[in-house]
């Protein structure tokens, strides 16, 4: 009927977290190879992770590093070689060079194009299908109507994020580490072994008058990624999503506290189940209170309704 998925960075989070609301898990943090015991950079952990996911009756997709430089291609290839020997349900790529590597290896697994794959058009989706891509995550700037257009005109699955902070920027180096001194880039250099995982603390970028007006801007920073300050929330639009023929939904979990994925997932599981069954939507008030409490800077609808990413439009 529909698939609901989220992401899990490493074995510890997978073991300790409650992901029962989800049909599928994207394993690994595609933004930072140094993230502790990241599935995306630790081939020796893949089998154990896969075993847990499969034992729970879920699908497992492996995320590959999104912005590999030339020095990264070797270890990314090692990870791919290990993954291709295991029963993953798909691999997720963001980098077109890595996609080409998979194609050269005659990759037998379905390939998903990730958020930083810059997918804006059905014509690009058609090209990428020739490289084994079966699912695409259209750039978050696209409206829901454009997302559906791509799905229909390229005959490809589209991943539709329904909740969580939107990835806005990815970089090859860690902004937190670079500024871990006194703000004058006196910190360590990314990749030099000096990482002390300060990203376990929340970091925010802020600009404006600090009065809560529309001139105030907040962004969350995870070191190698900058995320929307607000949490994308499509709870009030579950019926619309079901009515559009979209079927693969996703909750962004990167950088969130333990318990976030479980709380959000159960709310969306219920709402989407009702929507797909054709049942009238339940009063979202109570769920919105929960979701708002989890969102430090509030909720937004991203770009789905053809506005700037920070807007929120309720069902009414």
């Amino acid at each position: 009927m529909f698939e609901l998925s989220t992401d899990v960075g490493n074995l510890k989070e997978l073991r300790e977290g409650d992901f029962s609301a989800y049909d599928a898990l994207y394993l690994g943090d595609f933004s930072c190879p140094d993230y502790p015991n990241n599935f995306s950079s630790h081939p020796e952990l893949l089998e154990a992770g896969l075993e847990i996911v499969k034992s729970r009756g879920q699908k497992a997709y492996l995320r590959l590093y999104a912005v590999p430089g030339n020095d990264d291609l070797g270890w990314v290839e090692d990870l791919i070689d290990t993954a291709l020997e295991l029963p993953f349900d798909a691999l997720e790529v963001h980098n077109l060079g890595v996609l080409r590597m998979l194609n050269e290896k005659n990759c037998r697994l379905p390939v998903h194009l990730g958020v930083f794959g810059n997918l804006y058009t059905h014509e690009t989706a058609k090209v990428l299908k020739n490289y084994g891509v079966t699912r695409v995550y259209p750039n978050p700037e696209l409206s829901l109507a454009e997302v559906r257009y791509i799905a229909e005109h390229a005959d490809v699955e589209v991943l539709v994020p329904v909740h969580g902070k939107i990835p806005l920027v990815i970089s090859e180096t860690c902004f937190i580490l670079e500024h871990s001194g006194d703000g004058e880039e006196e910190g360590g250099q990314c990749g030099d072994g000096s990482c002390s995982y300060q990203c376990t603390q929340e970091h925010w970028l802020k600009r404006g008058r600090g009065d809560g007006s529309r001139a105030d801007w907040s962004l969350k920073d995870t070191g190698r990624m900058t995320l929307s300050g607000k949490d994308l929330c499509m709870l009030e639009h579950a019926t619309t999503l079901a009515g559009m023929g979209l079927a693969h939904f996703y909750v962004h979990n990167k950088g969130e506290a333990p318990g976030y994925a479980a709380a959000v997932g159960s709310i969306y599981r219920e709402a989407l189940t009702r929507a797909f069954a054709g049942a009238p939507g339940a009063d979202p008030a109570s769920a919105l209170v929960t979701l708002t409490a989890l969102a430090r800077e509030g909720l937004c609808n991203g770009y789905y309704f053809e506005g700037a990413g920070q807007r929120y439009i309720g069902r009414a």
Partner: protein
């Protein structure tokens, strides 16, 4: 022989760049090239610029480096066919689907992959070569060794901005949608009637240079530090001989939005420098003083522009 690729944000700038020795000028059609309309050109002006350039032995590339909306894809192709008929010798593009389509529809044209594609490794270069690209823009972070490695691995043309390499900070090209998260604005009449909402990546809506503005950064409850998200790129000079030796075929000067006088001076300066390197010079240190003055002008103009853009962003309705 490496080429000098110069900006033409207006007809006047196009003429100045050609007059000062640019091998190629690049222009952006209104609403299709990631710049505000003041730095883009009408189709008539593009036609005139192409005629001016070709009559003097130079070439003109058209920048179609915004990402099309799925609905608008056909319009990109139609415009490209018209520009090719009007004398454009090539295009600078970002969307893989558009790249493929242009290669199919205009087989003899020269296709550059824009910085907005976010290339980061040798395999990316191979992907774009397979897709029909003739030239790729090199990542800001690459050094000579990486350029040489790519030269050995591929016959694709190598283009680099005339900026020094940058190793830290957030480098946005191809991997950033911060501007549109913060603010959209409506299309202007001069940009044409379009049936989707634009953004920095999709045309008409300029990038607000969010990364170059000042932000407060830190952990909640602690005193934040004030910083920019990236360092300003500095105009390149000392690296030129090494880059030419490594096989860079095209040096790109940024700045369609800059004053014409500045672009005129920069084209003249880099024409001289590239010619010296091609003539055998291994050092350009004797130009250091002139470069320092140009860098100062560059930074002064840039900071003015960043403030203006962020003020504009704050004033738009969400």
């Amino acid at each position: 022989m490496p080429k000098l690729l110069a900006p033409a944000g207006s007809l006047e700038m196009a003429r100045a760049a050609v007059d000062e020795g640019a091998d190629i000028i690049y222009v952006g059609p209104l609403g299709f090239s990631r710049r505000p309309y003041e730095s883009e050109m009408s189709d008539d002006a593009i036609r005139e610029a192409a005629a001016y350039a070709t009559a003097r032995g130079a070439e003109l590339r058209v920048v179609l480096n915004t990402y099309p909306t799925p609905y608008d894809f056909g319009r990109f192709l139609d415009k490209a066919l018209q520009y090719a008929a009007d004398g454009a010798s090539g295009f600078i593009v970002t969307d893989v689907g558009l790249l493929r389509a242009l290669r199919r529809e205009i087989p003899g044209t020269v296709l550059h992959v824009s910085i907005g594609s976010g290339i980061s490794n040798l395999e990316d270069a191979a992907f774009y070569r397979d897709a029909g690209a003739d030239v790729i823009i090199l990542p800001y972070r690459w050094d000579v060794a990486e350029i040489e490695a790519l030269r050995r691995a591929s016959d694709i043309g190598l283009e680099t901005f005339l900026f020094e390499t940058v190793q830290t900070g957030k480098l946005c090209p191809g991997k950033c949608i911060m501007s549109s998260y913060l603010r959209f604005r409506d299309w202007l009449a001069v940009e044409g009637s379009r049936d989707f909402h634009g953004s920095a990546n999709r045309g008409a809506k300029e990038c607000y240079r969010v990364c170059q503005a000042n932000w407060e950064f830190g952990v909640p409850g602690e005193l934040p530090v004030e910083l920019k998200l990236r360092r300003d790129a500095r105009l390149m000079l000392a690296q030129l001989p090494g880059f030419v030796a490594a096989g860079v075929t095209c040096f790109k000067l940024s700045g369609r939005e800059r004053p014409v006088g500045m672009i005129r001076d920069l084209v003249r300066f880099y024409r001289k420098a590239i010619d010296e390197v091609v003539g055998g010079a291994h050092s350009l240190d004797h130009h250091a003083e002139e470069l320092a003055e140009l860098r100062l002008r560059w930074v002064r103009e840039k900071s003015k522009r960043v403030d203006t853009l962020m003020d504009r962003a704050a004033s738009y309705v969400a």
